[in-house]
Amino acid sequence: MAFANLTAATYGCAATMYARWLAGTLKADLTAFSASVSPLFSDDNPNDRTVGNWLVIVQAITSQMTAGITADQSVIDSAVQTLYRFFNQTDSRRATGQISLAQANAVLAAANANLS
């Protein structure tokens, strides 16, 4: 089911990510998600980095995963915790104006395309 908003993504990503792990697609899904949202946040813009810096950690965790469901569960848990914080930060930085509504909506769209 699609996330209605970033709050739903924040608290709902654990269930959907574990489902995708069990389906054997989580590594590919996270890779696609990261590739989709990374260009949204410029490393040269301090406001963008308040969200974009999380992608460093998302990428690192994704790179440690093996495809399928053989990944160490601690890696999956790290991924879930990281995405939980990433979505929360995206939502709160949009609310305070560091990032735009368009950026936040693009993150939500990428979440729904790859992680819902």
Partner: protein
């Protein structure tokens, strides 16, 4: 945190032998930049948080090139960590090799105690502080605990309504011991004095709009009861028997509502068992 974030390197440029990242934390997704190196790093004495993740560019780490250290009160890090502004993390587009600090503790800025009644209750939330210190030269000793912390409130701004009261929400991340001391010298009975330990939820929305169940896990430390005028309540909560919490929520109210004065509530938290 105010944005843009102050640079830690400015403190070093001003002549300090160490940098300090000290800020109130606005949310569980905050991520901070450290643009200066250090030879040792530890939680600062004012830190309310008990677990901070430090992430840094380390080309020796296979595949991810990301090194990570988790700072806790018992485990300061003795070793060099440095930003690598000359190179980038392996992302597309690339990102500079800055050092990053993020929360590992769970935290919910929107927490409301279950049963919260907006017509009868005030909410007083202490915003937790992130405090990290990095030394340019090896420090004489590395601290292995946060400073003990005491919160004290003598005046309680309760809502004016029958049994109107106030909730205090105090940060407690990984504290091993808590003591709650309430001396009712107010001249009237304090009603419904209650203490809960709270573990914040990360897996379902803990703050649904409108009335309904909330999902942050609350454990009863002291069931609601009255404290007669002139009496004292002392409650101890060692983690070994009561549990380890992200926060404590404390409620008290007056018979007719309205302020309670001269009833000091003191909460003492420590990293010592």
């Amino acid at each position: 945190m105010t944005y843009p974030q102050p640079r830690t390197s400015d403190q070093i440029a001003a002549g300090a032998p160490q940098w300090r990242l000290y800020t109130k934390v606005a949310g569980q997704g905050e991520i901070y930049e450290i643009d200066n190196s250090c030879t040792a790093m530890a939680l600062g004495p004012e830190s309310d948080f008990g677990q901070i993740q430090i992430s840094y560019l380390d080309p020796s780490v296979p595949t991810s090139n990301l090194g990570a250290v988790r700072l806790t009160p018992q485990y300061p890090y003795g070793g060099r960590i440095a930003p690598r502004l000359d190179t980038s993390y392996p992302l597309s587009p690339p990102r500079k090799g800055i050092v990053l600090a993020s929360l590992f503790d769970n935290f919910n800025t929107g927490y409301l105690p279950s049963g919260f009644n907006v017509s009868k209750m005030q909410l007083f939330v202490v915003t937790p502080i992130l405090d990290i210190i990095g030394w340019q030269q090896p420090p004489p000793t590395l601290p292995q605990k946060r400073a003990d912390k005491t919160f004290e409130y003598q005046f309680h701004a309760c809502t004016v309504a029958a049994n109107g009261g106030i909730w205090y929400v105090l940060p407690a991340f990984l504290r091993r011991y808590a003591m709650f001391h309430l001396f009712n010298n107010s001249g009237a009975t304090i009603k419904n004095y209650e203490i809960r330990g709270v573990n914040f939820s990360t897996v379902s929305n803990p703050n649904p709009v409108g009335p309904g169940p909330r999902d942050d896990a609350e454990s009863v430390i002291l069931a609601a009861g009255d404290i007669a005028d002139g009496t004292v309540s002392v409650v101890e909560a060692p983690a070994s028997t009561k549990g380890m919490f992200d926060a404590y929520a404390i409620f008290l109210s007056s018979v007719a509502g309205g302020n309670i004065s001269n009833a000091p509530l003191r909460v003492y938290l420590t990293d010592d068992a």
